[in-house]
């Protein structure tokens, strides 16, 4: 039997979308969603579900969509996932559910992400809220950080009856969903709506609360029965090469925080500015690098070039983002590594010196190890450089917690039940793992909620 092809996702035309920050995918219509869901062969053993970090009932949800029971599909997805409209958009499905789909072998897996986003978007339009009966258990949990891990942990614990307070350092909730991922990938009305769920179920979200600065960690220890640290990995990694101090050189974090959290693309209606030149270079090829590159394009950059020391096939970015970037005329130049950033007398960047790399052996990540080839150096003219080499846990919070054990790379140490060396204090998300995806952090949050519950009830 011939396998029907995936129902294609309608998208904004690349020429148009590089002039705005609106969503690139336009979303399935109900008809398209049903047609796509009907392609699912409803495997006896749904391998797709084994690929899901929060263990959603993917097979049953797809069947409900195929049966046009969209509300039920939404409620079932919410059972395991607090923010399905978000994960439907930002999960690396090709490595998870869709990668494990039996049809993936044909190159045409079920478009699970887009189906789930459709269901959640429809529920949002209908303002559909599942009824959750919460039986208060009288215990209180403090969560530090309102990103994906903290949010998921909060929802799970709240459902179990805990009083949950989340302490968020920034002036908006969401963590990376707010400051990191651009609106063209994750529209802000989606984020706002999904996060409003926290309030609906009675989670107390306190913004501008920087634990250790305006509220002591010891105060939390005194006032709460348990603590979950989900402070993420918010500190940028730099190249540590000459010229990094020049004006026009940004960490990807700074570039994205200016654009996403502070809305610099709406300057001067919004106060925070950004300077993005005609010729932009981006170092690195993960999702953050692509987000920054695509933001630069939308800020009016003429040429945006990604320089990566490996090949595109080894890049950690999602497939869909790589394709989108290419459609937007962003080049990805492989096997290149920066050696120094060049500037003028006024302290502005004018270019970058790159060296060709080659593979020698295998590195710790199991991928071929790129090393610089001596002598193969050349210069590229640039007005703006964005460094997207990943992030490390923010030492601001860590320095404020006395006695908390951390790894040399900055991550928090925890046992197999996610408990730190301080009894009753648990951790997860990027603060524990150093850097992963939204959904993995959410999976972490779920596991920690279970562990915290077990600990308190032992």
């Amino acid at each position: 039997m011939a396998i029907e092809k995936q129902v294609p996702m309608r998208e904004q035309d690349p020429k148009v979308r590089i002039t705005n920050f609106d969503s690139v995918p336009l979303g399935y219509s109900a008809e398209e969603a049903v047609k796509e869901a009907k392609r699912c062969i409803q495997c006896k053993v749904p391998t797709c579900e084994t690929g899901c970090p929060v263990r959603m009932d993917i097979k049953d949800i797809i069947q409900l969509i195929a049966d046009e029971k969209f509300d039920e599909a939404f409620f079932l997805s919410k059972k395991d996932n607090a923010v399905p409209a978000i994960t439907g958009r930002v999960c690396p499905q090709e490595d998870q559910c869709e990668g494990k789909c039996v049809l993936d072998k044909t190159g045409q897996p079920i478009n699970i992400g887009k189906l789930f986003a459709f269901v959640a978007d429809l529920a949002r339009k209908k303002d559909l809220v599942e009824e959750i009966k919460i039986k208060e258990n009288g215990k209180k949990i403090a969560i530090v950080g309102c990103g994906p891990a903290g949010i998921t942990c909060a929802v799970d614990l709240r459902k179990l009856g805990y009083g949950v307070s989340i302490f968020e350092a920034l002036h908006m909730a969401g963590g990376v969903l707010q400051y990191g991922i651009p609106a063209f990938r994750l529209p802000r009305d989606v984020v706002d709506y999904e996060l409003s769920f926290l309030e609906k179920i009675g989670v107390d979200v306190q913004l501008n609360q920087i634990v250790g600065q305006n509220i002591g960690f010891d105060e939390l220890q005194k006032d709460y029965d348990g603590i979950y640290i989900a402070t993420g990995a918010g500190a940028p990694r730099f190249l540590n090469c000459a010229g990094e101090k020049l004006k026009g050189v940004y960490s990807a974090n700074e570039f994205l925080i200016r654009v996403n959290l502070m809305k610099a693309y709406k300057f001067p209606d919004w106060d925070t500015p950004i300077i993005c030149g005609d010729n932009v270079g981006v170092i690195g090829c993960g999702n953050v690098a692509l987000d920054a590159a695509r933001c630069a394009k939308r800020l009016g950059a003429n040429s945006v070039r990604i320089f990566y020391r490996r090949t595109k096939e080894q890049a950690p970015a999602r497939e869909e983002e790589l394709e989108h970037a290419e459609e937007e005329d962003i080049s990805c130049e492989k096997m290149l590594s920066p050696t120094k950033i060049i500037g003028n007398n006024e302290g502005w960047i004018t270019g970058i010196e790159l060296v060709t790399t080659k593979f020698v052996g295998i590195d710790k990540s199991g991928r071929p190890k790129p090393i610089n080839v001596d002598g193969l150096k050349f210069e590229v003219r640039l007005d703006t450089l964005i460094i997207a080499l990943g992030t490390t846990p923010n030492r601001l919070f860590l320095s404020n917690v006395e006695g908390l054990e951390t790894h040399s790379w900055g991550g928090i140490k925890a046992d197999e039940h996610f408990m730190t060396n301080i009894p009753g204090v648990f951790t997860g998300g990027d603060a524990l793992t150093g850097g992963s995806t939204v959904i993995e952090a959410m999976g972490n949050g779920r596991d920690a909620a279970e562990a915290l519950d077990n600990y308190i009830n032992k």
Binding site: A169, L170, H171, Y179, N208, Q209, I210, Q213, N214, I215, G216, G234, A235, P236, F238, N240, E244, K245, K247, G248, Y250, S251, N253, E254, I257, R258, L261, M262, K263, K266, F267, P268, D269, W270, D271, T272, P273, I274, I275, E346, G347, N394, R395, L396, S399
Partner: protein, 280 residues
């Protein structure tokens, strides 16, 4: 939380003072900390030095410099600031130093001067000399906001000599360094003189803490915009500073990076001017 303005006062032709209700910041503030202000929902996160804390109220000094401060100058008592966040930063040790000089020549520096003198003077064994310099007599703050009441000795200087001692704080300090034994210098205000004070104190072998003002975005250690180089090592002014050993700071970079958004700041000012004209 409502961050209401409870007092607003003119300091000079360009500078003004406001008191804001901010219990979260007030409770844990230590001189050397700063706070972050978002005046309106569309606003920037701007780092601000704190002059003093009384109960739930913090006092901040502003200079009409850019869009946010010009706009804020039109606000009145009873108006509300959108968000006040902090305290942020790592203060230098609050301890016994001996004879301490705090020198300042600009709005934020004057606020820091007050806060630091006020706390250090209470530590036995410290003797606080505060120097505040202004361009000319008309710029000098009202007596009640000068550091005279919080320091053991107070030297007012104007660059043209129209009031107090003639000269910049650098001139006053050099004289002090020549004549007396000074154990520690602190300085805040305009950046180029901070580079000079670092060279000057080095010459006299006296340590100096300087406030390295830099452009910040989140001010929580996430963006790296405020990176400064201390003895060649990258630090962040928002979480490691903003007070650093001035003799180790790469001042050329600090001075250069402060100008990065100059063109945009001018655009924001033009828009504000156009808006204000429209209102009239």
């Amino acid at each position: 939380m409502k961050h209401t303005i409870t007092k607003k006062e003119v300091l000079n032709g360009a500078d003004f003072l406001i008191d804001i209700v901010a219990p979260g910041v007030a409770k844990r503030f230590v001189p050397g900390n700063f706070c972050v202000l978002i005046t309106i929902p569309n606003g920037e996160r701007i780092p601000m030095s704190i002059q003093k804390v009384e109960g739930d109220i913090i006092t901040l000094f502003f200079k009409k410099l850019g869009k946010t401060s010009y706009e804020l100058d039109t606000w009145k008592v009873g108006d509300e600031i959108y968000k006040v966040i902090g305290p942020m930063g790592t203060p230098p040790p609050i301890k016994k130093y001996g004879t301490v000089v705090f020198a300042s020549d600009l709005v934020c520096g004057h606020a820091e001067n007050w806060a630091m003198c006020d706390i250090l003077r209470k530590i036995p064994g410290n003797h606080l000399i505060s120097i505040e310099s202004f361009p000319t007599e008309a710029d000098v703050y009202p007596d009640s906001e000068l550091c005279e009441s919080v320091a053991d000795e107070f030297i007012l200087a104007t660059e043209d000599g129209s009031r107090g001692v003639k000269g910049h704080y650098l001139d006053v300090l050099e004289k002090l360094l020549k004549e007396r034994k000074i154990d520690q210098v602190f300085a805040g205000g305009a950046i180029p003189p901070l580079q000079k004070i670092s060279e000057l104190t080095k010459k006299y072998n006296v340590p100096v803490y300087t406030t390295v003002r830099q452009i910040m975005v989140d001010a929580t250690g996430m963006c790296g915009s405020c990176r400064v180089f201390i003895d060649g090592e990258q630090k962040l002014a928002c979480i490691d500073g903003p007070m650093f050993d001035g003799q180790k700071v790469d001042w050329e970079v600090a001075i250069s990076r402060l100008t990065m958004f100059k063109t945009k700041e001018a655009v924001a000012m033009d828009c504000l001017n156009a808006k204000m004209k429209g209102v009239k």
